[in-house]
């Protein structure tokens, strides 16, 4: 066999490593991975287009369906965007309730990742234990919202359901129990020498890599990049409570696990303070929004995987958004595999790919398919090229005209 001919090891489109259809081609030289290619587009559902045909209130529940794990991140970001468009301030009680839901979601999502990471390493005991400890959190969701997933709590101008006073002590009790269990799990995971041997120094992302790829969320924080939308541009109740942003320096998979596990405790801290505030302060939980004026709004939320960004534009006449743009955190986090995977072994690449906690259904906003030729028209590279071209074009246009964009700059 010729020397330059490399074996392609496929991870995907359906593979036990990935919960969703996605295709990574590993070009391997023996066990070593020399190149990785990402083929996306299996999961595209056209949600942005769909939301242009829905009522503003319906879109809240539509975007909730983008992802099953971070299902409240998109509604929070969307509601922030529409409230920014209308220029309204939501009641304080609603802010606290939004923060409670957002942080509970972070808790369950991080525990879910820890479990899955254990499973990918063949450590099924961690998998089962982490998911067992996640169960009380889902119970808390059921108590507050009526659902274990897809909580349907958000509405434009506030939240749909109140947290009852008699529920607060039960919630706090469950939370303290969960805290003890997560402490135990954290110690067990971080002190395990074999896990450390597998994860330390694997898939290192340097600060420059993070900046080059624009990675966000726990992935960036594990590399020492101190960004968190909750603190940098506060929304909901995040500026009303005490908490801190967790960062570590090494940027390997182990540090990503550390960041996620320690963030759980910060989340618990936030929830406890929010529950206290809800218990002591009474008030409205939502504000009536009669009509959406012309204009555009931007909203974001620090989802468990990083900042999720929503852009909504209204023309003031119709009842649905004229344009609704979503950018999910995995969209910028996944391409970091180019910096972290090359040169590692197949075993390590699997955990590195899983280490950014990828969520493909959030990511896939575009797929171009030629039905006659039975193939995709654009590869990942083509899409990047196209988006760069479009940004250039828009930049030129802003110079000449473009009323809406001027307001932003």
């Amino acid at each position: 066999m010729a020397n330059n001919k490399k074996v392609i090891v496929p991870i995907g489109p359906y593979h036990p490593l990935l919960e969703e259809p996605e295709y990574f081609q590993l070009y391997c030289d023996g066990e070593e991975v020399v190149d990785v290619e990402w083929i996306a587009g299996y999961n595209h559902r056209g949600i942005e287009k769909l939301s242009e045909s829905k009522h503003y209130d319906q879109v809240t529940f539509l975007v909730e369906r983008i992802c099953g794990i971070c299902s409240t991140s998109h509604p929070i970001a969307y509601c922030n965007a529409v409230e920014d468009l209308c220029g309204i301030e939501i009641p304080e009680r609603a802010k606290y309730i939004r923060s409670v839901i957002g942080e509970l979601e972070r808790l369950h999502s991080h525990l879910l990742w820890v479990g899955l990471a254990g499973h990918f390493l063949g450590y099924n005991t961690v998998f089962m234990w982490a998911w067992k400890y996640r169960e009380p959190i889902l119970d808390m969701f059921e108590m507050i919202t009526g659902n274990r997933n897809h909580y349907a709590m958000l509405r434009i101008g506030g939240v749909r359901r109140d947290i009852e006073d008699e529920d607060v002590p039960i919630l706090k009790k469950t939370l303290s129990e969960v805290k003890g269990k997560i402490e135990m799990l954290t110690e067990a995971v971080l002190d395990d020498p074999v896990l450390a041997a597998r994860l330390k120094g694997v898939g290192i992302l340097k600060k420059e890599d993070i900046k080059n790829y624009g990675a966000i969320g726990p992935v960036a924080r594990a590399s020492g990049v101190d960004i968190d939308v909750r603190r940098d541009d506060p929304y909901a109740a995040y500026n009303l409570v005490e908490w801190k942003v967790i960062t570590t320096e090494n940027g390997d998979v182990f540090d990503k696990a550390v960041v996620r596990l320690l963030e759980c405790f910060e989340s618990i801290k936030i929830i406890e303070q929010c529950l206290d505030a809800i218990y002591h302060k009474k008030g409205e939980i939502w504000k009536e929004v009669r009509e959406i004026p012309e204009g555009e709004g931007i909203g974001h939320h620090e989802a468990p995987r990083g900042e999720v960004f929503h852009y909504v534009r209204s023309d003031g006449n119709t009842t649905s958004p004229v344009r609704h743009k979503i950018r999910a955190p995995s969209y910028v986090n996944i391409p970091t595999f180019k910096a972290s995977c090359i040169g590692e072994t197949i075993s390590d690449v699997c955990i590195i790919l899983a280490g950014v906690d990828p969520c493909y259904c959030c990511t896939e906003r575009i797929a171009v398919y030629d039905n006659d030729k039975k193939k995709k028209n654009y590869s990942f590279k083509d899409i990047v090229k196209k988006s760069i071209e479009k940004t250039k074009k828009i930049k030129e246009e802003i110079g000449k005209e473009g009323k809406l964009w001027k307001g932003l700059l």
Partner: protein, 309 residues
């Protein structure tokens, strides 16, 4: 002995070993489930799995070497059954010959080799990654495994006969009750995890990395044969360790049999515990671990044995 007699004897062993093996795998699965706070499967689950697999269609890939593809799983079952039959004959009938220890060491590598053969004949990329891992794994655990076998062989008066080892332990006590015995037991226990192919050394199958590895193209009864071979190894390897280290008891009396079963279960449970408290290692880490620390400790153990500690 006529050919039919030998054949029927083989079939009898195959059936008995399969039943015990599937039951042992159930103990492993159930215990794993309880450790992980799951309910776990009912006792007949493994039997149901094999019966279901035997009813499934056997798919042979187009670019596979058909003869080797079909023959390899059968080879795995045959070799592990012969291992089991030798051990059973030694235990039950006190039938053995000088050098059966060495024969067992050879026969125990054949299931791994048959996985390599089957994987390489299936013509799949992931299988080729799997067989390269299996090959490295085989090379790495074999050295400490042999260290772990040499220690009791020297202890029992430099013999290569299993019966001699058992007799020696009946007179002078189990091999494990000494420093070198404990060292040897730990070494052979860890390397036998690699032999059976469970976590932390299951990277030849590594479901979440290479989706089954060498076995990826197998389906139906051929996959069932591999599963059976693995189940039989779950009997053979712990029994081998019991004979070498925990003293061959008088299996013919009822109480002796009971003690023997308890010893076997202890080894089986230790293997299950190891596989539930460790993540899967990388192949380079495994090589370094087996050829580095474990072999060094093994050689230390042999030196200790020679000096009589």
């Amino acid at each position: 002995m006529s050919v039919i007699y030998i054949f029927s004897y083989f079939v009898l062993f195959f059936v008995v070993l399969s039943i015990i093996g599937l039951f042992a795998s159930w103990i492993d699965r159930k215990l794993t489930a309880r450790i992980q706070w799951r309910v776990g499967p009912p006792w007949y689950q493994n039997f149901a799995d094999i019966i279901k697999l035997s009813g499934k269609e056997v798919l042979i890939p187009e670019n596979a070497n058909k003869f080797m593809f079909i023959f390899s799983p059968i080879l795995a079952v045959i070799s592990s059954t012969i291992c089991g039959s030798i051990i059973f004959l030694v235990l039950k009938e006190r039938f053995g010959f000088g050098g059966d220890l060495i024969l067992l060491v050879y026969l125990l590598t054949i299931p791994s080799l048959s996985i390599i053969l089957g994987g390489s004949s299936s013509g799949n990329v992931l299988a080729s990654v799997g067989i390269s891992r299996e090959l490295k794994l085989l090379l790495s655990y074999e050295l400490p495994f042999i260290c772990g076998i040499i220690i009791p062989a020297i202890k029992s008066g430099s013999t290569t006969s299993l019966i001699e080892i058992i007799k020696h332990q009946q007179i002078y006590g189990s091999n494990i009750f000494s420093l070198s015995g404990i060292i040897g037991f730990i070494i052979i226990l860890i390397s036998s995890c690699g032999k059976i192919g469970v976590v932390p050394f299951d990277l030849a199958e590594a479901e979440t990395e290479i989706a089954g590895g060498s076995l990826i193209e197998y389906s139906g009864i051929l996959l069932g044969f591999y599963k059976l071979a693995k189940s039989i190894l779950f009997v053979v390897v712990p029994l081998f360790i019991v004979i070498l280290y925990l003293g061959g008891s008088a299996i013919n009396s009822f109480s002796g049999f009971l003690i023997f079963v308890v010893k076997y279960l202890i080894v089986l449970i230790l293997i299950t515990l190891i596989r539930n408290t460790n993540p899967r290692l990388r192949i380079d880490q495994i090589l370094r671990f087996f050829w580095g620390w474990l072999t060094l400790i093994g050689i230390l153990g042999i030196l200790l044995t020679l000096s009589g500690v």
